[in-house]
């Protein structure tokens, strides 16, 4: 293929053009990774800490060169991997806790005083399951154990009565 050997034809495929394409591709990868990291951050919030900050950002806006874009891409990829691992680890803990709760519900006496909160299961709210003796000391002596379910704080969410009261007041029906 002699055309490929002609210097002027090869000059047309200058490094600058290739680098621009590479930069565009890196920017595309950065946007995809940022979307993934944002999604993982939102998913993990309130359940577990996920590393989402990228060190080394500057304060002057400019066109980054290939190496700098690669560095941003690599750091984002690292954060995404770490966030995935943190979420997977948390998910495994929640699964174990759910299995433990099932066993505790089946045989409370084998899990004396064990308490599992809704947060331990990755669920919202502040309720918990607590293995306790029936009738206090008597139950302890007799081996009568049960799992007591707490429904959590009554004021954690808006009361349904408030939801009904506000429209009624606005309609002039309230006192």
């Amino acid at each position: 293929m002699p055309a490929l050997l002609k210097r002027e034809d090869v000059a047309g495929l200058g490094i600058g053009v290739d680098e621009r394409r590479a930069r565009l591709e890196l920017r595309r990868q950065i946007s995809r990774l940022e979307a993934e990291l944002s999604s993982l951050f939102g998913e993990a919030f309130g359940h577990t800490e996920v590393p989402h900050r990228i060190a080394g950002g500057g304060s002057v806006p400019r066109v980054l060169d290939l190496g700098e874009l690669e560095a941003v891409r690599d750091r984002l990829a690292d954060r995404v991997a770490e966030a995935r691992a943190a979420l997977a680890g948390r998910s495994a803990v929640e699964t174990r806790n759910r299995e433990l709760l099932d066993e505790m519900l089946a045989t409370p006496a084998q899990f004396k005083w064990v308490q599992i909160s809704r947060a331990d299961l990755g669920e919202p709210g502040c309720g918990h399951w607590h293995s306790r003796p029936v009738l206090g000391p008597i139950g302890m002596l007799m081996g009568w154990w049960r799992v007591k379910v707490s429904s959590g704080c009554p004021l954690a969410g808006r009361l349904a009565a408030v939801e009904r009261e506000v429209p009624a007041r606005e309609a002039g029906l309230g006192t």
Partner: protein
């Protein structure tokens, strides 16, 4: 939106489209700048504007702040910040900064006009807006990189070559998503205000127009 379409909708003046330096545009497809000029005086925000901010405060929750970066427009600005070397967790995008301030202070604080008008539009649309004194800008606006030896008025030293700026025909007015040059921002004696929207890839044109319309109409109504 064309000028004629804007006039049909009863909105005059229509937004003007600025230009992006060709080599910057080739690196960042979708990057754009548009602005609208409004006759307005800076000052205390009237009650309807302050009420609007309060209503917006009531509609903004912590859970929305957490999920904000997953929404298309805030995400687009975060991505662009990464691409131009800014850390969006340190140099916040306008919508994220406003949302964080809302959580920190317990509400959107009134900062007077035109800042409140811009804040309302940014909160509603997510589009990045900023304001300049239109009487102190020369000709059309653009996004370009700084030339060798160029500096930002009021800041010591020269800008690093290749710094992305918002500029008029004569000089840089501000860093892109950064400081405003001295004398270009809106001051107490400003009488004509240029509201500028920076569009990045992923931000639809209609959102930009809505943001400009919202900010301009809030200012014009006062």
């Amino acid at each position: 939106m064309s000028g004629a379409a804007a006039e049909r909708m009863g909105w005059v003046p229509s937004p003007q489209q600025g230009w992006v330096a060709p080599h910057i545009a080739s690196e960042f497809p979708g990057l754009g700048i548009a602005w609208v000029e409004v006759d307005a005086k800076p000052g205390r925000s009237p009650d309807p504007v302050r009420r609007r901010l309060r209503d917006l405060s009531d509609r903004t929750y912590g859970s929305q702040a957490i999920r904000l970066r997953e929404r298309p427009i805030p995400w687009a600005y975060r991505v662009f910040f990464r691409q131009i070397g800014l850390d969006p967790d340190r140099t916040r995008t306008p919508i994220e900064q406003l949302t964080l301030d809302r959580l920190y202070y317990g509400g959107f604080r009134s900062k007077g006009l035109p800042a409140d008008a811009l804040d309302i539009a940014v909160i509603e649309t997510g589009v990045a807006l900023r304001a300049f004194d239109a009487d102190r800008t020369a000709g059309g606006l653009c996004i370009r990189d700084s030339a060798p030896g160029e500096s930002l008025a009021g800041y010591p030293g020269e800008m690093e070559q290749g710094t992305l700026t918002i500029a008029d025909e004569d000089r840089p007015l501000a860093l892109l998503f950064g400081e405003t040059a001295e004398g270009c921002g809106v001051g107490p004696d400003s009488r004509r205000i240029a509201i500028v929207a920076v569009q990045v890839k992923g931000v639809p044109q209609i959102a930009v127009e809505e943001a400009l319309w919202m900010a301009a109409s809030t200012l014009e109504a006062t």
